[in-house]
């Protein structure tokens, strides 16, 4: 009779973590699932803005998976300054975009370790597959994550376990190594076959990741803000308001220290109207159009340019002139009458 164990599962609700969950639970191990809220989740942002572009509403897949398998789940909110600081100073560097995946995994594993200790669990496991991702799932990085999080021997990747050194729960007989997987690489054929075999009903299709940090257009805005702060002589930092603004609207760089954001939808206009104090807001007064938000202190020319770009995206775009109301953060209001910017090449050049 083997020893009854308890494990903490890091789940996303994707196919791999769901399979890992089913695989560990099939060994009679009590499982508690955890999921991290980083503030950079594309799905949550889409939900907030009323769904995907095709009109469908994405669901929270981690919750769905936990509900399907009736597994206790705990959400851990890590979207605070400590996490943002890690993103700005990643020891293992960035991936192709603003994604410090290895450092982020280490960060999460340290939090998971706290849960493991609090719950009296024996180990933590994930749906990671050896060699599936170019940076964070290489053999050496899987090892670095395990070592740096202080989880040596207690971080199990059930799907690839047979290809990795035996973990402590395997050595202690809590987990039967013979029943764990030997998957590696990017293919998904074997996972899909396993899912069918285990009778798993539903899993989301991979859609290029759920994290804004891996998104190219987000990364441009991210590094642009850091550049702006540097140009203004400010320390390298990012806060929660920045994150919300980076995922909202069209962004235009008017000068090294001045940026314009123009809403694309009613929801985005609402965000630009209400979120983040201390910025100037502009809006056309006599025709419907978007809300604009200006970061930095613009010159007279830059105010004119911002108003012209804003006017271009409203109902007055074909009018000779548009009246734009400019509200400064100190409450002062000025009315500008401008010609909507018609030089598309110029606008595109300013776009971040």
């Amino acid at each position: 009779m083997k020893k009854q164990g308890k494990a903490i599962a890091m789940i996303s609700g994707g196919l791999d973590s769901t399979l890992a969950l089913a695989m560990v639970r099939a060994q009679g191990i009590e499982v508690k699932a955890i999921n991290f809220y980083t503030g950079f989740c594309i799905t949550e942002t889409q939900r907030r803005k009323g769904g995907r572009q095709d009109g469908t509403m994405p669901q929270n897949e981690a919750l769905r998976a936990a509900a399907d398998l009736e597994i206790e789940i705990e959400y851990i909110d890590i979207s605070g300054p400590e996490y943002l600081d890690m993103i700005l100073h990643p020891k293992y560097g960035y991936g192709a975009n603003a994604n410090p995946c290895v450092d982020c995994r280490i960060f999460m594993m340290k939090k998971a370790k706290e849960v493991m200790e609090r719950e009296g669990a024996d180990f933590i496991f994930t749906g990671e597959v050896l060699g599936q991702r170019p940076k964070s799932q290489r053999r050496d990085t899987l090892w670095a994550i395990e070592r740096e999080s202080g989880l040596k021997g207690r971080l199990v990747r059930p799907l690839s376990a047979k290809l990795l050194p035996p973990s402590i729960p395997e050595q202690e007989g809590i987990l039967d190594r013979a029943l764990l997987g030997d998957l590696s690489g990017r293919g998904r054929t074997r996972q899909i076959a396993m899912a069918r075999e285990m009778g798993l009903a539903e899993w989301p299709q991979p859609a290029g990741g759920c994290c804004f940090l891996t998104d190219e257009s987000f990364a441009r805005k991210f590094f642009d803000i850091l550049g702006q702060r540097e140009a203004a002589g400010e320390p390298r930092h990012i806060d929660r308001d920045d994150v919300v603004l980076m995922t909202t609207g069209r962004h235009f760089r008017l000068s090294p220290t001045v940026k314009l954001i123009v809403g694309r939808t009613e929801v985005e206009n609402g965000v630009l109207q209400t979120y983040a104090d201390g910025h100037a807001r502009l809006m056309a007064t006599q025709v419907t159009g978007p809300v604009g938000l200006v970061v930095g202190v613009p010159t007279w020319e830059e105010r004119q340019l911002a108003a012209r770009i804003l006017a271009r995206y409203g109902k007055g775009k074909d009018e000779p002139t548009v009246e734009v109301s400019w509200r400064d953060p100190d409450g002062g209001v000025e009315t500008l009458v401008v010609e909507p910017e018609r030089d598309e090449a110029r606008v595109e050049q300013l776009r971040i």
């Binding site: 999921n35 939900r47 669901q59 929270n60 936990a66 509900a67």
Partner: protein
């Protein structure tokens, strides 16, 4: 739309207005910890994600989801805390 008149009186009301999903669920989990078995919690939220998140969270945690509906500008969600039973074993 469900009618609130048919719903039990909550022991506690948790207002998560202005918080973005899944934070309302994080707060709900903390609030439920402080309740007794059988107690009813009313969660108020402005993020529409609550409409799908709350029923799923209740199913995962085995609490009784009574109703989630839109009430004016916000959402209301009722749940009843259930005792934690020992987990089933060996079932995938």
């Amino acid at each position: 739309m469900a009618s609130s008149s048919a719903l039990p009186e909550p022991v506690q009301v948790l207002d998560t207005s202005g918080l973005l999903c899944p934070i309302p669920i994080v707060r709900t989990a903390a609030a439920v910890k402080g309740l007794k078995d059988g107690d009813v919690l009313l969660v108020i939220a402005t993020d529409p994600g609550i409409a799908t998140d709350m029923p799923m969270w209740c199913k995962a945690m085995r609490h009784e989801h009574l109703a989630t509906f839109k009430d004016g500008p916000s959402w209301k969600s009722y749940l009843r805390k259930r005792p934690r039973l020992p987990r089933h074993e060996g079932r995938p």
